[in-house]
């Protein structure tokens, strides 16, 4: 058995009203930012699956994403593989430090 770590990124479906995205967008002029648009606010869930194979782990994440982490009526999701030992903190700093 091995550990497989994933992030599930959930976003409102295109075309669905996203009041949070709209609120962020409406606040941008207060920051003197005028060149940002189409803001969408979603949610990111990170998790570790212990499984025999990557395919088995992925199947679990996919089922969870479909059944629980997103609502397919209003949201889409994308699964992103992470380093098995990563956490929200390390992946966030990894993104900013090359």
């Amino acid at each position: 058995m091995s550990d497989f770590r994933y992030a599930v990124n959930v976003l409102p479906k295109p075309g669905i009203l996203d009041p949070q995205g709209r609120a962020v967008e409406l606040s941008l002029p207060h920051l003197n930012v005028t060149n940002v648009s189409r803001v969408r606010v979603g949610r990111r869930v990170e998790l570790t699956v212990t499984a025999d194979s990557e395919a088995a782990a992925l199947a679990v994440v996919d089922a969870l994403a479909k059944e629980m982490l997103s609502n397919p009526l209003i949201e889409t999701y994308a699964i992103e593989p992470l380093e098995a030992t990563s956490s929200a903190v390390s992946s966030a700093s990894g993104a900013t430090q090359p």
């Binding site: 669905i16 009203l17 009041p19 949070q20 609120a23 949610r43 629980m68 982490l69 609502n71 009526l73 209003i74």
Partner: protein, 237 residues
């Protein structure tokens, strides 16, 4: 007759629902979320609140609680289930009623009195209603009813829309941005039922308008409807 009220962690309208049932003359039964046993009740109310803190999405964690296995089986047998506010969100997440409840269009938690009107009086959840607008409270942050256009057409054609938010003149508040539509619900939908007609959800709180001492007993029209339907269902079994 006995009617159950499910209690999830962070339910907060359970006591109001239990009281409204007592006012209607039936024995209220508390149903704990950790047991799938509905204790032989004749109908079930999923009350308002913030089940499981509304974490992830309102209603989704509750969907997977043991009691919902019992509620789903009860609904499949034809038993009547009414979800109020957070209870509606739980039913929608459980796919027991169609659609989804999005964050209010205003982004504000809406806590006020609104007018709703039954779209039909021959449903199990409106049979004791007068047909006049009901003046009852809402208290929610995620009550903006959403379904895609095809589903909305189908719901209207099948008579599955049970309640509309209405203007002072009693007409549906169809513009999602008009004040009489408190959360931006599409087609002014305040409540829907499943295609079989025995499971319904609505955002406003009829159980909080169950006695004159609370300001109005408008909500009792809906509680009595549920009681009558439960009695008819028991009698037919």
């Amino acid at each position: 007759m006995r009617i159950g009220v499910v209690i999830f962690p962070d339910s907060n309208s359970d006591v109001d629902a239990l009281n409204a049932l007592a006012v209607a003359g039936v024995e209220p039964v508390k149903l704990w979320h950790e047991s799938p046993d509905l204790e032989g009740v004749s109908a079930v109310i999923l009350p308002g609140g913030f089940a499981y803190g509304d974490y992830l999405r309102a209603g989704v964690i509750a969907r997977f609680s043991p009691v919902m296995r019992g509620v789903s089986a009860f609904a499949a047998e034809g038993g009547h289930v009414l979800g109020i506010c957070n209870g509606f969100q739980v039913l929608a997440e459980s796919r027991l009623v169609p659609g989804a409840l999005l964050r209010n269009r205003s982004l504000r938690f809406a806590c006020k009195l609104v007018d709703i009107k039954p779209a039909r009086l021959d449903s199990p959840f409106t049979r004791a209603a007068t047909g006049k607008p009901l003046h009852i409270p809402i208290a929610h942050g995620e009550g903006c009813y959403y379904a895609d256009e095809a589903t909305l057409d189908e719901l209207e054609a099948n008579g599955q829309v049970l309640f509309h938010y209405v203007r002072e003149d009693g007409t549906p508040a169809l513009d999602p941005d008009e004040p009489a539509n408190p959360n931006g619900s599409l087609r002014a939908i305040a409540g829907v039922c499943n295609s079989a007609g025995n499971v319904a959800g609505l955002m406003p709180h009829p159980e909080r308008m169950s006695e004159w001492i609370l300001g109005s007993d408008d909500g009792m029209q809906l509680i009595r409807s549920l009681v009558e339907s439960a009695a008819a269902w028991e009698a037919a079994r």
